[in-house]
């Protein structure tokens, strides 16, 4: 696991010094993160890197995970989909399963830390135990267009928190509590993002039989309709009318996700026998994803819906020109024509791809701007700094705080 000093060559000494100074102002405060899983998923991935760094700078931090059975997690998956605006049948019994599990965890879990930091809806009910300490609710998902029924249910609990945190301005709404904008982050030292030798990149492309004899357009994402893989192929075909290129669609799908497998079949059917479309169903392998991104000419993220879009962050960090839909947190990362190109349709995506493939200097400039934008705003150290500021805001009201 990386230590704070390892980040100095990437972000500079001043950034690390700021973290230590802020941590001093929080001396004596105990912080407790609570989420629903210790492994798998973006929240656990970030916490697994964040918590050791918080401890290293002297913030007394622990990380707890709520318990829940199969029924509970089936309900929370329905909640997740409904909060994303997808139609879901949610019965009264489902709400009761959620409540009962919440009560059970509340009985069993100690929540006496000075700052209790709840991640996502699953542990949201724990706030009923609040007694004199500070509570934060961090919503990692896109709730810009949620199911009214599920959102209203969550509103039984949200106002009891001291602050809420969202990943994009479009996820916020009028709420009777302070709400902050904190983006998720990538770790520049992780296997998914660290520099790779050219040899490794070539080995991975060879492994998947992807020649580098023509420009490569790549979308990395699981096979999910919200990532619009069929739209990606349509856009590629429009580009191919004028520019010879390859398309790589790479990602995973859970074996117990029937929809994911169905989407994969549709993608294969649409690609048919085009030898320049490479469909890669991959197991989790961070170095291979890193290599595919680095070996690509342009990265595409044509999502119809997106939380923050960390695959975009990863691509920008690698200095790649990116074409991405202007949804979720992507507009925070890409300023159109400055750090990438935003699109809103298949035709728009194709036009943007042609622009970048036809103008390598322009593409390189966008890529360089994108990398710098990520360095300034979306690395783990910035994320950590913003959490420390968030903790300080719990004890200081006002827009100008002297610490």
């Amino acid at each position: 696991m990386s230590e704070l000093k390892d980040y100095v060559p990437v972000v500079g000494q001043a950034v690390v010094d700021d973290l230590r100074l802020l941590a001093e102002r929080l001396r004596g405060k105990r912080v407790q993160h609570i989420n629903s899983t210790a492994v798998g998923g973006g929240v656990a991935e970030i916490l697994s890197r964040m918590v050791p760094l918080l401890k290293e700078i002297g913030v007394d931090t622990r990380w707890d995970v709520i318990k829940g059975g199969e029924q509970f997690f089936e309900v929370t998956k329905k909640f997740h989909n409904a909060l994303h605006g997808r139609p879901e049948e949610i019965s009264s019994a489902d709400f009761e399963i959620f409540r009962e599990n919440g009560r059970k965890n509340a009985r069993e879990m100690d929540t006496g830390s000075d700052i209790v930091f709840i991640h996502d809806p699953q542990p949201i009910m724990l706030v009923e135990k609040k007694s004199g300490n500070k509570w934060i609710w961090r919503c990692h998902i896109d709730v810009s267009n949620p199911s009214r029924r599920v959102w209203d249910f969550l509103m039984d609990f949200i106002p009891r928190y001291d602050s809420a945190v969202f990943s994009a301005p479009s996820f916020s709404r009028r709420l009777p509590l302070r709400q902050f904008l904190i983006s998720p982050s990538i770790d520049p030292l992780s296997d998914k993002n660290r520099e790779l030798p050219e040899e490794t990149i070539n080995q991975v492309l060879d492994k998947y039989a992807i020649p580098r004899n023509k420009p490569i357009i790549t979308q990395i994402s699981r096979f999910d309709r919200l990532k619009d893989p069929l739209g990606v192929i349509e856009a590629y075909r429009l580009v191919r009318k004028h520019k010879d290129c390859r398309l790589v669609l790479a990602g995973g799908t859970a074996s117990d996700d029937p929809e994911g497998l169905a989407v994969l079949e549709e993608v294969k059917e649409m690609a048919r026998d085009d030898p320049d479309i490479h469909i890669l169903l991959m197991k989790q392998n961070d170095i291979e994803i890193n290599a595919l991104q680095r070996g690509s000419t342009v990265i595409l993220q044509k999502s119809l819906k997106e939380g923050f879009g960390l695959t975009v962050t990863e691509a920008l960090w690698k200095g790649k020109p990116v074409v991405a839909s202007g949804v979720g947190g992507i507009p925070l990362q890409i300023k159109h024509r400055y750090s990438g190109l935003l699109c809103h349709s298949v035709d728009g995506a194709a036009f943007a791809l042609k622009q970048l493939l036809g103008n390598p200097d322009y593409a390189a400039e966008l890529g360089a701007n994108g990398r710098q934008h990520v360095r300034n705003n979306f690395l783990l150290t910035t994320h950590l700094r913003n959490y420390l500021l968030l903790f300080l805001s719990l004890y200081n009201n006002g827009d100008i705080v002297r610490i």
Partner: protein, 222 residues
């Protein structure tokens, strides 16, 4: 010589960090934007006219402020976007004045271009108002002479430069940037103070601004 003069009161260096606070307020048309521009806290106006400086601090080719960007690229009104980008923010000494300037540019545009009122954003592309919460803290450095000041300035982060040059002037309403004020009133060097005051932080990167100040001080001392 002013550089040999020792000030009675030192220049105390501060820095600042910023946390964006969401308001839940959003606009989909120019009228809605205008209405909210008149009502939102000054911290919102400050955020949307300054966050781009902090987010893109390493570039010469700065993007536009948030209002100009949204009007240009979401509403597709290039003329108004250009007018908003062209507001000479450096002339203002308070956020209130910036708000008035933006409001008057939009009101004038709506009168001159009736079609502008028909423009609206797509779903999910509304303008979301965000506030800026600033955390200000001393960095445990102080200078009594111009030479000491220069040596420290070379070492500090761009956040420190940003605080004293922009934030203290606008949000704490210090009238001028802190560097010029101290050099003028504590060292009595109005000429150097004026040269620094004339620098435009909105058309160069913060690192570039820092280098410009360092050059002015070096020239003065040598």
């Amino acid at each position: 010589m002013p550089e040999l003069k020792k000030a009675a009161a030192p220049f105390v260096f501060f820095s600042r960090l910023n946390l964006p606070e969401l308001t839940g307020l959003k606009a989909a048309t120019l009228f809605q934007l205008l209405d909210l521009l008149k009502k939102v806290p000054g911290s919102c106006i400050y955020h949307h006219t300054h966050s781009f400086l902090q987010q893109h601090d390493a570039f010469v080719s700065e993007p536009l402020n948030d209002f100009a960007y949204w009007v240009s690229f979401v509403l597709g009104d290039a003329m108004l976007g250009e007018k908003l980008a062209g507001i000479d923010t450096v002339q203002f000494s308070s956020v209130h004045q910036i708000r008035e300037a933006i409001v008057s540019v939009i009101e004038a545009h709506l009168k001159e271009s009736p079609l502008a009122r028909l423009r609206f954003s797509g779903e999910g592309e509304e303008f979301h108002f965000v506030k800026s919460v600033s955390f200000i803290y001393p960095i445990n450095r102080q200078a009594y002479t111009l030479a000491e000041f220069l040596e420290i300035l070379k070492l500090v982060s761009v956040d420190c430069i940003y605080f004293h040059f922009i934030e203290a002037k606008l949000r704490l309403e210090h009238n001028d940037n802190d560097f010029s004020s101290w050099i003028r009133f504590s060292l009595g060097d109005s000429e150097t103070a004026e040269k620094i005051s004339r620098l435009d932080p909105y058309t160069q990167s913060l690192e570039g601004l820092k280098n410009s100040i360092v050059s002015i001080l070096r020239e003065r001392i040598s």
